[in-house]
Amino acid sequence: MTTEAPSATETIRSARHSRSYWALQIASVPGFFVALIVYFAISAPQFGTFGNWAALLSVAALLGIVAIGQTLAIVSGGFDLSVSGTVPLGACVFVALINSDVAFALAILATLLTGAAVGAMNGLIISRLGVNPLITTLGTMSIATGLALTIAKGQTIALRMSDSGELISPAVELLSARSLGGLSNDVYIFVVLTLVGFVFLRYTTLGRNIYALGGNHEAARLAGIRVNALTTLVYVLSGTLAAIAGILGASQLLAANGSLGADMALTSVTAVILGGGSLTGGVGGALGTLVGVLVVATLGNGLALLQVSSFYQKIIIGAVLLAAVIVSQLRRWLDSSR
């Protein structure tokens, strides 16, 4: 066996590739996240305070939980726009049940089942009828939003108080109350669900099958994976997680309405893509999404503290998303050419 010595040109190209590769690694989303933190910490004195981080993480928790489900959908080769309807539906169902004196645990269970039902509808339509996920989840988003508005009768429904001025179900507020170390419980719930999502995707057969499904649907089917059932499971999980976000949103706000979390679909897709996910499927993960969620939340928080115009905030966040996707594409290109 003989090996050919690389030519001088190839050596130089390789070195350049290597430098570009590491430059892009540093410019990648985790690197950007660190740079953001440093920049905001220097520019806005309040940014580094514990109180600010507690608020930032609490705001990020809802998006993060939805984004875990979105990660599953995107890794499987689809995506789930219906979360923008399932979050308010979950919140409205939960508040309506609590206000109707349904037991706390039962209200949570019923809300989770509501989210799962929306997800099951998505999964069955996509897998059994072969309808595009965009169209399917757009339709179910509209249905879920309409149901949420119907339950709330178009109103903002506040959690009912007793005559003594206490919530009729104090456990609701506990879900997002300050807890260990001064962080709120919704943050801990988000962290736990992220870890569960990470282990599920990375270390379980089902999780690996989701990657296979997103990587090549036909190959996954030929490999014996029950693609229809798996697709349905993915959307059921996504719907359930969106319902959890709805419950936590209601807990944070002590109220719900039909427009709560209406921007969740696009923001959660943004977070997943920032975290390394690909709309072509088969790529992404819970920890990457966590970073994506933190980037989105940190940008929003830091720019607000710096008193940047809300219009410019939109421009900056959009530009960051585009930059992250371009860097991600360049890294893949360099990976494949090394």
Partner: protein, 405 residues
């Protein structure tokens, strides 16, 4: 732009024309012709069409229910449309409304898109059907029904200032946090400017702004001066919560906070963010058009000192009275004002529309005991405004709920 909260839009462009109209009809006595009902020979209102702004907000649901109920009371054949906060649907509904069978004598159009005014008014003009614009007007000279946003903003400020003074708050130890809807435009956010501009005059130490319009002219600006912060809550419960949560660090620990937003769902979200940050105890606020949730806050929250109520559920009867006035051939003012009061826990303020909650509501916070007296005609920002002339149509008397009728 859409405005999901159903707060009034103003046609600033039509201001000059509005005053022009006023100049053409000096001294006109509105409603003079029909002190005992319809003018002699005038048609009685029997058919009408109403296109609502949407059905996704509490106010619109109340508006729809009120219209249907008023139509029942008066025996009016009402055709209902839902514009669904969509300009295409708004235009489509205008076309459908003029072709409705039976043909409506008057069309009420809740329009959120000032850019559609020409298209809509042309449709109604070509069909020869008079129209009443709700929210955004349909051009100068059109019949227009809306809330008196300037008055509500100013009187809300007076309400807060009274309670703040009782607690020893001044501009020296207070900052004002406004939560706007940056994309909703000047017509909506002017309310915030009026509120702050009025508050500056009542709380010495607050840093003045040039004019009320400075606030809506800078919807993206986060800090106007040392006593005025602004965030964009998009008129939404959860987005207001997030926006305020993000700037908690910019609220000085030694300052009290006066919170004011463009709609109570936004106030509720912002309030919750302040509450979670431990700031609600040193915050005062007044809600706007909050429905039951806002009323409940007013009743139970010691720092929720007022709630502006414009009685959305009863707008239908006022617009039907307006329609009858049109059929009677009367000349309407530039702006027919909706009923509006700023409700408080227990006080009223002379010369304002500030009144105690108990004056208007009993236990049931969804059904007012009465509606405020009709307002005499006066010169306002858009020309002549008021609703006293509706007395002459005899329509409102059939509901028996307007004070003084």
């Amino acid at each position: 732009m859409t405005h999901p909260t159903a707060i009034s839009r103003r046609g600033f462009m039509g201001l000059g024309a509005a005053f022009g109209t006023m100049a053409l009809v000096p001294g006109h006595v509105y409603g003079q012709s029909a002190a005992t009902g319809s003018a002699a020979g005038a048609a009685k209102l029997t058919t009408m069409a109403f296109a609502n702004g949407g059905e996704s907000q509490a106010q619109w649901v109340d508006l729809k229910n009120g219209f249907l109920s008023a139509a029942d009371t008066l025996g009016v054949n009402l055709t209902y449309f839902n514009n669904d906060t969509d300009p295409q649907k708004t235009r489509q509904n205008a076309l459908l409304a003029v072709n409705t069978d039976p043909r409506p004598q008057v069309i009420c159009m809740y329009n959120q898109f000032s850019g559609l005014a020409n298209s809509l008014s042309r449709t109604f003009d070509q069909a020869g059907i008079p129209a009443i614009a709700v929210n955004a007007r349909l051009g100068a000279g059109s019949h227009w029904f809306n809330l008196d946003e300037i008055r509500l903003g100013q009187d809300s400020a007076k309400c807060v200032a009274k309670v703040a003074a009782e607690r020893g708050w001044t501009g020296e130890n207070t900052i004002v946090l406004l939560v706007n809807g940056a994309e909703f435009g000047k017509e909506v956010n002017i309310l915030l400017g009026e509120f702050y501009h009025q508050l500056v005059q009542l709380m010495p130490g607050l840093v003045p702004i040039g004019s009320p319009e400075e606030v809506p002219d800078n919807p993206g600006l986060s800090k106007f001066n040392d006593t005025l912060l602004q965030v964009d809550g998009n008129a939404s419960l959860d987005q207001s919560f997030s926006a305020v949560s993000n700037i908690i660090g910019n609220i000085p620990a030694d300052k009290n906070v006066v919170l004011y937003t463009i709609v109570t769902s936004s106030t509720l979200g912002a309030w919750r963010a302040l509450e979670r940050a431990g700031i609600a105890g040193r915050t005062l606020t007044v809600g706007l058009v909050g429905g039951e949730a806002g009323m409940e806050q007013l009743r139970t929250n010691p720092n929720w000192v007022g709630e502006a109520d414009i009685f959305y559920g009863h707008w239908g009867q006022y617009m039907m009275a307006m329609a009858q006035a049109i059929l009677n051939g009367e000349t309407l003012p530039d702006l027919t004002t909706s009923p509006g009061v700023v409700l408080t826990k227990d006080f009223s303020l002379p010369g304002t529309v500030v009144a105690p909650l108990s004056d208007y509501y009993g236990e049931d916070l969804t059904k007012p005991l009465k509606l405020p007296p009709l307002e005499a005609m006066s010169k306002g920002f858009f020309g002549l405004q008021g609703n006293e002339y509706l007395r002459g149509t005899g329509v409102l008397q059939q509901f028996g709920n307007v004070e003084g009728l």
